[in-house]
């Protein structure tokens, strides 16, 4: 039988000289003292580089933000209005204090970035959340060689291995079709930011109409405004009264399950798209008819592959199965340790975020959520380009 590849020992401990820690763990989050900035801080700070727009990574309250340009529109909908957000293109190097910083695509969601920090030839990379499988709604993962790699490990156990996404999309389409034949509505739950749009990009939109929950529609609009092509969707909140949903697909955040919001859809078949659906108990506990194993995080194989391919001499593991991953890497000859962060890797897809539940409430009765989102969008409709970013940056104090 095929054995899983063990990470090879690709460095020699005896040769490593002591180098400064470019990133440290502080009470406010991951901190780079040589550039005086934080990465995805969980307490308000002066300067925050944001890896991506998920709630546990992009928190409001910071004075200045720096993020990758493709995710600017999305990020701005997740922070307070008029937040100071400066952007850089993927791969564009900027000098911050004593270090050179560049952002590189993490393939996780639109605009997600790994943060590369270099000082005197020493390179550290903070992965944020990442996946290596391609995704039509965001740029592909870029491998960034480094000396120290700070990696997530949301699915850092060998039981978490994903099938090719096309197989999963085929399963979803098949499920939707057979529900349609049985006169049922297909109610598919997935994380409102990223997962929902990836699902929209992957399903066969010719099967039937697609409706969305307010939280999903809001983010989907931000994706479209960022130039991502997605099939037409109709927001449930603005659908005419008496709409017959049978045969359609409805995409909603997990927090909408079993809320009054789902009552108007008639006979439904429910499904949940998440890496956690790999475990039968999780699916059963969620009381879903189906579970589709679709994740925006790297699986066990990809985590190991990326860690090895970065060539890192030292790996620091953050949220997820950090202790297990560290032990596995050390036993495989890769020096590893962990940072205990406030990122919610283990649970972020299993529990509603505040943003999800807020939107659930607002969209159940009114369409104010969508209206507000649209208004905001109109004020800032230009595609995110260097010039747009520079223009935006001119109005607010600069990040660096």
């Amino acid at each position: 039988m095929v054995e899983f590849a063990k990470p090879a020992a690709n460095y020699d401990i005896t040769n490593s000289v002591s180098t400064p820690d470019l990133v440290k763990l502080t009470d406010a989050g991951l901190y780079c003292e040589y550039g005086d900035f934080y990465i995805d801080p969980w307490r308000p700070v002066g300067r925050a580089i944001i890896t991506h727009a998920h709630a546990d990574h992009a928190r409001p309250g910071n004075t200045h933000y720096l993020a990758a340009a493709p995710g600017k529109r999305l990020l701005s909908t997740r922070l307070e209005p008029n937040s100071s957000i400066q952007t850089v293109e993927y791969g564009e190097a900027i000098k911050i204090g004593e270090v050179t910083v560049s952002l590189h695509s993490a393939g996780h969601v639109l605009g997600s970035a790994q943060i590369r920090i270099e000082k005197d030839g020493e390179v550290w990379v903070v992965s944020g959340d990442y996946k290596t499988e391609e995704d039509a709604t965001c740029a592909a993962f870029e491998l960034v060689p480094c000396h120290t790699f700070i990696t997530e490990s949301t699915f850092g156990l060998p039981i978490f291995r994903w099938k090719p996404q096309q197989t999963v999309f085929d399963e979803i389409n098949k499920w939707w079709r057979s529900n349609q034949e049985a006169g049922k509505t297909s109610l598919l739950f997935g994380y409102a930011l990223g997962k929902a749009q990836r699902i929209l990009s992957g399903v066969d939109a010719t099967i039937g109409p697609i409706y969305t929950h307010g939280a999903v529609e809001k983010v989907t609009q931000a994706y479209r405004d960022s130039g991502i092509a997605l099939p037409d969707t109709q927001y449930v909140g603005t659908a005419p009264k008496g709409t017959k949903y049978s045969g359609s697909l409805i995409v909603a955040p997990p927090s909408a399950q079993a809320t009054p919001w789902t009552r108007v859809f008639g006979t439904v078949s429910t499904a949940f798209a998440s890496g956690w659906m790999r475990i039968r108990g999780t699916r059963r506990r969620k009381s879903m008819d189906r579970g589709f194993v679709l994740s925006d995080h790297a699986d066990w194989v990809a985590l190991n592959q990326v860690i090895r391919d970065t060539g890192a001499e030292h790996v620091i593991v953050t949220h997820g199965y950090a202790a297990e991953m560290v032990r596995w890497l050390n036993e495989g000859g890769i020096k590893a340790s962990s940072f205990s962060t406030k990122f919610e890797g283990e649970r972020d897809e299993l529990q509603p975020t505040d943003q999800d539940s807020e939107s659930t409430e607002e969209s159940s009765e009114t369409d104010s959520g969508i209206g507000a989102a649209n208004m905001q969008d109109e004020a800032d409709l230009a595609p995110t380009t260097r010039t747009a970013a520079a223009a935006a940056a001119a109005d607010v104090p600069r990040f660096f």
Binding site: M1, F4, K6, R161, G281, T282, R327
Partner: protein, 549 residues
């Protein structure tokens, strides 16, 4: 194996009863009798005796997956099921097996028992090679004897009844007791002629629903029979063809645990089936259930044990008399026959003439029966108020409360509302502190749902009870989070948590125990509510609970 795996998947993918029944129906309609027999065997929770030691299987799995043993433990911790953890760890499969279920079970699964270690290894590795991911999971479930699909026996029976057009009660009866999963068995199961011959076969038990209403909703008190709710082992005593059998409600043949009852049963006429409760009984008093537990725990019943814990059958009902199934008759009639039978009064030997009036006239032929076969006494009252008053004496009588049965009720199958109710006295309660937590299984595998609670004893918390039911999903989620954030120590799957959360536990009984550090054992503990209003230091002391002894 393919069709059976699809069936499993279909059952697993829906929570709707009619969809589950439809899935089983279509399986039985297309599967061979051999496969159907095995499918029923597994669906109704039967399992072969241990085929292979689990640690050996795990060792094989981690070697095949190329991960260290500790990684299995961590993975198991996330999954909560050995068979599933193995299936998820194995390298992706490329094949699918088309061989039928019976082939896999008879030629591959069962021979593992008694095979040499090398043969076991070869066979299991070969199986994993041939099966697809989902089939491997099913195979591992069969191998570890942990096959459960979330269908009740009742649902299986309903599906079989739809396929065979035989009444559910007949199917249920044929599925009871011991049987071999063969094509012949399946054919017999579906046989339209319902004169069954197996003399040991018990009837499905009729179970009461808990009564949680106001008595007057039941109508007139005169239409009801009230009895004490005894706390023992619900059983059927069968006397047929010169042989006796005792079946427990769990469908276990327990005749050999109670030789004195078997001995007494020869006094019963052939073709008699009594439904009753086995109770530990001494000097006109029922002993605590824990005494009986001691007795059933032993494979061989010693003379001393029989003297220390004598047992009786408290007869509730008569299901078969003179070889005739009389479950359709009214309770009042069955009870009358039961009384005549056990008091040694006369009754007609011709089942066709079994009426009370006629048995009155017939000459005595039943022998006087012993003290070991007793009739559950009626609680005679003329008003609901009086009945309610009687229930208050339950504890002093060592019973759990009252049973209410409609006089006109037939003896039904399974747990059904309407005619039979159990009306228990309010349970004992205590406020205890959460001290250990463990992950649940199945649906709750990834949550900490199994808790151990402690009571104060000289400034320390002593574990007294384990409980895992009674909380809402939301509460479970909150406690799970608390456990994760307040773990003091980990011992394998068990976490010691900061003693902070207080729960009100209900329990049915309490007994002295030398096996427990606390010196007591409580029965059926469960969580009544989360006492968020109570700090840990205000929880109950061991002393107060011991006082209930």
């Amino acid at each position: 194996m393919k069709a059976f795996t699809d069936l499993y998947t279909a059952l697993d993918e829906t929570t709707k009863t009619n969809e589950k029944i439809a899935a089983m129906k279509s399986y039985f309609e297309s599967a061979s009798p051999e496969d159907s027999a095995w499918a029923i065997y597994f669906l109704t929770g039967r399992k072969p005796k241990q085929l292979m030691q689990i640690p050996k299987l795990v060792a094989l799995a981690v070697a095949a997956a190329g991960v260290p043993g500790w990684m299995f433990a961590e993975s198991y911790d996330a999954v909560g099921d050995t068979a599933e953890t193995i299936a998820l760890l194995l390298p992706d499969s490329t094949k699918t097996s088309e061989l039928p279920l019976s082939d896999w079970v008879e030629n591959r699964l069962l021979p593992l028992r008694g095979a040499t270690e090398q043969e076991q290894i070869d066979s299991v590795l070969e199986a994993w090679q041939e099966l697809n991911d989902q089939q491997r999971f099913i195979w591992n479930k069969l191998l570890t004897g942990a096959f459960r699909v979330g269908v009740s026996q009742q649902l299986v029976i309903r599906a079989l009844s739809l396929v065979s057009k035989i009444e559910p009660a007949v199917v249920a009866h044929r599925l009871m007791g011991t049987w071999e999963p063969t094509a012949e068995f399946y054919q017999h199961l579906m046989e339209p002629d319902t004169k069954d011959t197996d003399i040991s076969r018990p009837y499905p038990f009729y179970l009461a629903y808990p009564f949680e209403n106001d008595l007057p909703v039941l109508g007139e008190v005169s239409e009801w029979q009230a009895e004490w709710k005894w706390d023992g082992i619900r059983s059927q005593l069968i006397r047929r063809g010169g042989q006796s059998f005792i079946w427990s409600r769990g469908e276990e043949l327990i005749s050999d645990r109670f030789p004195e009852l078997i001995e007494e049963s020869v006094l019963l006429p052939d073709g008699t089936v009594i439904d009753g409760e086995i109770l530990p009984w001494k000097e006109a008093n029922v002993l605590p259930f824990s005494q009986l537990q001691l007795r059933i725990g032993r494979k061989n019943v010693s003379k001393k044990m029989m003297e220390d814990v004598p047992v009786i059958i408290m007869a509730y009902d008569l299901l078969e008399f003179g070889g005739v199934d009389i479950r359709d008759r009214a309770l009042v009639e069955r009870r009358e026959l039961l009384e005549r039978l056990l008091r040694g009064l006369s009754c007609s030997s011709d089942p066709a003439q079994l009426t009370i009036a006629e048995s009155d006239k017939a000459a005595p032929f039943c022998q006087r029966l012993s003290e070991r076969l007793r009739i559950s006494p009626k609680v005679e009252v003329d008003s609901w108020e009086a009945l309610s008053e009687s229930r208050n004496h339950s504890r002093s009588l060592n019973v759990e409360g009252l049973m209410l049965k409609r006089l006109s009720s037939p003896y039904k199958v399974g747990r059904q509302r309407g005619d039979w109710w159990k009306w228990k006295v309010n349970p004992f309660t205590m406020d205890a502190v959460l001290i250990y937590a463990q992950r649940g299984s199945g649906k709750r595998a990834s949550l900490y749902t199994d808790y151990t609670f402690g009571l104060w004893d000289n400034g320390k918390l002593v574990p007294v009870a384990k409980a895992y039911s009674g909380l809402t999903d939301e509460e479970i989620r909150q406690v799970d989070l608390f456990v994760r954030q307040n773990t003091l120590e980990k011992f394998g799957p068990v976490r010691t948590v900061k003693p902070e959360l207080v729960f009100e536990l209900a329990f049915e009984g309490i007994a002295k125990s030398t096996r427990h550090k606390s010196g007591i054992a409580v029965r059926f503990p469960r969580m009544l509510r989360w006492r968020t209003d109570k700090p840990a230091n205000e929880a109950d002391t061991l002393e107060t609970v011991q006082a209930l002894l």
